[in-house]
Symmetry: C2
Subunit: 205 residues, 2 copies
């Protein structure tokens, strides 16, 4: 099923894998070529340069990353439910893409890299989620909080656990399996903690 991709697609798929797991400066064009079963000349033939290929991959990663949240925010569920669902969606999404948050956070911190196309983030704004929160403050249905802080709360508790897998394994001397069990449990912890904090009037549990 994956065998009859075009050369261009094969290279792009390999680049995605290699870039995401090793970062821009952690890998070479040759490595990507080898991973795709092609050679360096072809990589540059289709994508002009390592940087150009990277931009494509990075933008794709940003899109996936943002969409996993936008899908939930665009739904017509009530606000509290949206928060629950976005955490669930993030944990589900990151279970299959655990390297994505580290990739995005790191590459955004490279000076050379990623004069970022902020259009991606506008998609979040355009779901109206922030307005919805503001309205909820005013009606006393939700704790008043700055939107940057809300974003931080959600992303910290969803993304960091996947970014710190190796650190956690070392600190607690646990296996991959044990860690994955902890992550599954963590989802519920995070949901309860955040919902209780953000919607304090409700009796949660």
């Amino acid at each position: 099923m994956k065998k009859d991709l075009s050369t261009e697609e094969k290279i792009k798929a390999a680049a995605k894998e290699v870039f995401i797991s090793k970062g821009f400066s952690g890998c070479s064009t040759r490595e990507i070529a080898k991973a795709s079963g092609m050679n360096v000349a072809l990589v540059n033939y289709y994508f002009r340069s390592k940087s150009e290929l990277f931009k494509l991959v990075f933008h794709g990663a940003m899109e996936d990353f943002v969409n996993s949240m936008v899908n939930v925010f665009s739904s017509d569920a009530p606000l509290e439910q949206k928060i629950r669902l976005v955490i669930e969606a993030e944990y589900d999404f990151l279970s299959t893409h655990p390297e994505l948050p580290a990739f995005i956070v790191n590459e955004m911190s490279r000076e050379e890299g990623c004069q970022i196309d902020t259009t991606f983030f506008d998609k979040i704004l355009s779901t109206g989620i922030f307005d919805e929160c503001t309205k909820a403050f005013e009606e006393g249905r939700m704790r008043k909080i700055d939107m940057a802080n809300l974003t931080l709360l959600i992303m910290s508790n969803c993304d960091f656990p996947f970014m710190s897998k190796n650190l956690m394994k070392a600190v607690h001397k646990i296996s991959d399996e044990e860690l994955n069990e902890r992550l599954i449990a963590h989802k519920e912890i995070v949901i309860e903690m955040l919902i209780t904090y953000l919607f304090p009037q409700k009796t949660n549990k």
Copy 2:
């Protein structure tokens, strides 16, 4: 005051700065040499190789990182107060070392790098903080939670906000100054949220 360091110290200081901000594969020996005002030959004269120098820097970073927590856990404050204090200490520490968590998390994910000396983490264990928590569960003074999940809660909410500075600035289109204000506010949010979650019987305000 910093002018009359020995050559060795000057190189190590420059290496620390460069490695922490760009990562092992994001910089060259030449860059470190230049940043220290020395040349490549001297770097290798004192430290044998880029990798050896990196190990020194990484271990130093790990030590700083762990100590910022150990200091609090070793105190004789009551448990709830320790949790409060460790969050405060982390935010204070990271305000002056914002790049440290990303550095550690990233370099721990490099395959080549960091067959990590887990001794560092034993220092946390040896403070008895985990035993203290277990005792608190049994006496019903604290919510029962796996230690890996507790570590995740604290680290997620302390480290991620500093790791994601560039991402946050892009998402919310804010300046460094505004972001720093958000981080200061975030410390209090995190303290209240975590304490309320972990010690639910108390009335936290």
